[in-house]
Structures are given as C-alpha cells and as structure tokens.
Amino acid sequence: MANAIATAHEHAHQHQFDDAEQQHSASSLGMWIFLAQEIMFFGGLFLAYLAYRTAYPHAFVTASHHLDVQLGTINTAVLITSSLTMALAVHSAQLGKQRLLLVFLVATLVLGGIFLGIKSVEYSHKFHEGLIPGPFFSVVSGDSGQQQLFFSLYFAMTGMHALHMIIGFVAILFLIVYTLRGKYTAAYNTPVELFGLYWHFVDIVWIFLFPLLYLFGRH
C-alpha cells in the first residue's frame, strides 16, 4: 500500500482519490475499522475469561497466584513507555523530523523486544513449574481442572497478545527501512501514523490483561 504511493511529488495520491487529504482519511478509516474488529476479537477472549472466572472464582484466584506480579508490572511499564516512544515517533514524522522518527522507532522496537523477552522468561518459568494445561499439569488438587482452565485462558490471551506484538515488531522493521530511505515526510507519513494506532491498541489490550490475570485476588 504505502510503497505504491509515489514519493517524488509531495502531494502525490493514487488515482482513485480526489486528493492526498481524502486518501489519508480513507486509510485512517480502514485502520479504525480493522481495530474495531480487533476489539471484538479480543472481546471474545475476555468474555470467556469473565464467564469462567465467575463460574470458578476460587480456582482462578489460586491459579493466578502462580503469576509473577513483579515481572507483570515491569512489562506494563515497558509497554506504556513503548507507547510513548511510538507517539513521539508519529509526532516526529508529522513535523518531518526524519532523524528523530528513526530514533523513536528504534526505541519502540527495543522496548517491544524487552517486553517479549520478559514474557518468554515468564513462559519458561510456567513450563518448568508444570503449569502448562494438559497431562503434565503438576498442581494436584480437587479443582486442578478448573485451574488448568485459568492457564489455558492465560496462555491463549497473553499468547494472542504476544503474537500481535511480534507482528508489530516486524512492521516496525519495515517502517525503519522506509524511514532510512526517506519515504516519510511532513506531507506523507500515513503508515507511521496508522501503525501507531495498532501499537497503542496492543498496549490497551495489555492494560486490561495485567489486572485481570496478575492482580486478581491478591489481597
């Protein structure tokens, strides 16, 4: 999409659009409709969590105590900071500051990498503690099945979130390459802006996952 748009002329737009402004509105609209669909996609996972937590509150509290609040809190801070650097990247792009855009995109990439790194450490802890649902689940108690349900949802929700992070990670790499080629100017920076929306959305998903999975029933 982005690379098809000529960058030679400042106000270039594809032939089906009246002008660059209309082209930008159309791109933005498409991204928002995609995000509305993403709300419903994650909504289904959150609903499954809510329904089973309502059904088995005790087992869910017991199971959630296996999660590491400290690592969860650090990761929340890392992700919020990456949202800030992404917002600053969009800001730099809008002002046509290509060097700063590059700096903030790289910062976002690094912070996203740190988040995924910490997440993989957590996953390997869960693996070694035998908290993977299935025949090797190590918690022996009357509500073992219900606790496995919690961990199934934990891995489905954080896994789906991590997959979105990985896709975002790859997308930033592309943005960095195009930034190095000088594609984004004050007049044309739609891909940076729309990717920013995606990145912030992934941040919002984590903002809800963190209290629901890590902080539930701690007192």
């Binding site: 509305a36 917002a87 600053l88």
Partner: protein
C-alpha cells in the same frame, strides 16, 4: 491535515499512565472486599481512555472515527452484558434446577 499534539500532552499522559499502573498494583494488595475488582477495572478503563483519546488522537479526530470507536465499544458491551446476564442472574428466581 493532521492535528499536531503538543509534546507536553504526551508526557503528561505517560506520567498519568505510570502513576495509575503503580496505583493499581498497590490497590491489588489492599483488602477492599468486592470493591477490589471495581477499583482495578476503573483504573484500567481510565488508562485505556487516556491512550485512546490522546496517544491515538481520538479527541482530535473527525466524527466518523469517533463513531467507529464508539460503535466498537458499544458492540463489546452488548457481547458482555447479554452473555453475562445469564450466569449472573441464575438462582434469582426460586425455580427448580434442571
């Protein structure tokens, strides 16, 4: 064409998000009874709203974008309310269990 948000806004929102993260962790270890969940969700919704309005520029967007965001949230609410209306109200009437 684009609304340029002042840098001060981004840093203020970032500070608010970090403070709210600290608050929600602190609140999780206090005993507020049933209010623990309410507090945690209120903080999460506040944080999400700040991100949507300022980082995602919805406060400065055109009405069509705002309509799509609102519609997404509305349908999410329909999904939650209509589904949970069943399990949450079971046992309210003295009917024999099947």
């Amino acid at each position: 064409m684009h609304h340029i948000v002042p840098l001060r806004v981004y840093f203020t929102i970032f500070a608010a998000l970090i403070v709210l993260t600290g608050t929600t962790v602190w609140a999780a270890f206090q005993d507020f009874g049933v209010m623990n969940d309410v507090v945690a969700m209120a903080i999460a919704i506040t944080k999400a709203t700040l991100v949507v309005l300022f980082f995602m520029h919805v406060r400065y967007s055109d009405r069509l974008t705002q309509l799509i965001v609102s519609t997404g949230i509305l349908f999410l609410m329909i999904l939650f309310v209509f589904t949970m209306a069943d399990p949450l109200t079971r046992g309210w009437l003295p009917l024999p269990r099947p």
